[in-house]
Amino acid sequence: MAPSITRREALGGAAAALVLASCGGGDAPPPGGGAKPGSGAALLGSLLALEHAVVAAYAACEEVVGGGVLRNMRAIADQERRHVARLQALIRELGGDPPSGRSAEEYARTFPRLREPGDALAFAEDLEQRQVRAYLEALTELPDLKLRQAAADIGADEGRHLAAVRALQGLPPAQGPFVTGAL
């Protein structure tokens, strides 16, 4: 019997492709500019590339949702834009040149087809899951306390976003005691 794949899994897989493309698969290497190697600027650049893609993804999601889901997605997208600004500022402080995002059309080609609110919420959940993981992994790699504090703060926001999009689907906001791995 041929393996089956659920619609949710298909959407998640598309999101994975988006993330890979946004974090180096198709873009120029993250910032380099004048930042010193090992300063953390390159890692921040990868996080920024992901944030740019997520902002574009929420714009796509907003086209197929309404009511409370739309209000929440707009609130999340506003926070993601603030994350973009914070990461850009940090990269500049390190002497780097923050990577710019792609055009809306380029991002749109990498997104799954979103036909109904459930599609948008499943896509958003997958993206938030990946963002939480990316920021928490960055905590291990970033060399400077200030940069780790920023990653932790933004990671907490992404944890709230993940819980919110789960709640909007009628799922328990908290999936388990450890979101990405136990002590």
């Binding site: 209000r71 929440n72 609130a75 999340i76 506003d78 926070q79 939480v132 920021y135 928490l136 992994e137 905590l139 291990t140 306390l145 780790r148 504090q149 990653a151 932790a152 703060d153 990671g155 907490a156 926001d157 992404e158 944890g159 709230r160 976003h161 993940l162 819980a163 919110a164 789960r166 709640a167 909007l168 328990p172 906001p173 908290a174 999936q175 388990g176 005691p177 450890f178 979101v179 990405t180 791995g181 136990a182 002590l183």
Partner: protein, 139 residues
């Protein structure tokens, strides 16, 4: 002020977890929270406390005591609404403490798992706000 040791940082987090466990246990006893939600939150906090105790084992662990003033918890237990607001406050404090500690702690292997608990506490805040009928995101 001198930087705090990893053990001190973990002991602070353990005290926070013990405070959360006590709060949810009290709320369940007094029926100040939906049973399903309260049991899930309590069980998560117990898992967090157990994990931190294991991280502390053999590292000069003291025995932190719960920090919550009893009077505040008692007052909060008067209704489900007041308890949910109290618990949102505790969870927000926990998120802030985990964010600080995940950045500050010297052992890099502990940073990501502490962040994982932080994300769970953030989700608890959303669950409690959802139970209150408030917007799930506070901006």
């Amino acid at each position: 002020m001198a930087a705090r040791s990893d053990v001190e940082l973990l002991e602070d987090l353990l005290a926070i977890e013990q405070r959360l466990v006590s709060a949810y246990e009290g709320a369940l006893r007094r029926e100040a929270i939906d049973v399903g939600l309260g049991e899930m939150l309590r069980d998560h906090e117990r898992e967090h406390a157990g994990a931190i105790e294991r991280a502390l084992a053999g590292a000069g662990q003291r025995n932190p005591r719960a920090l919550v003033p009893e009077a505040k918890l008692t007052a909060a237990l008067r209704s489900r609404t007041s308890f949910a607001r109290f618990a949102v406050h505790l969870e927000d404090e926990a998120v802030a403490a985990y964010a600080r500690t995940a950045a500050e702690i010297r052992n890099p292997r502990l940073r990501q798992p502490l962040g994982s608990i932080m994300a769970c506490e953030a989700a608890h805040g959303v669950a409690l706000r959802n139970a209150l009928g408030e917007p799930v995101l506070i901006d």
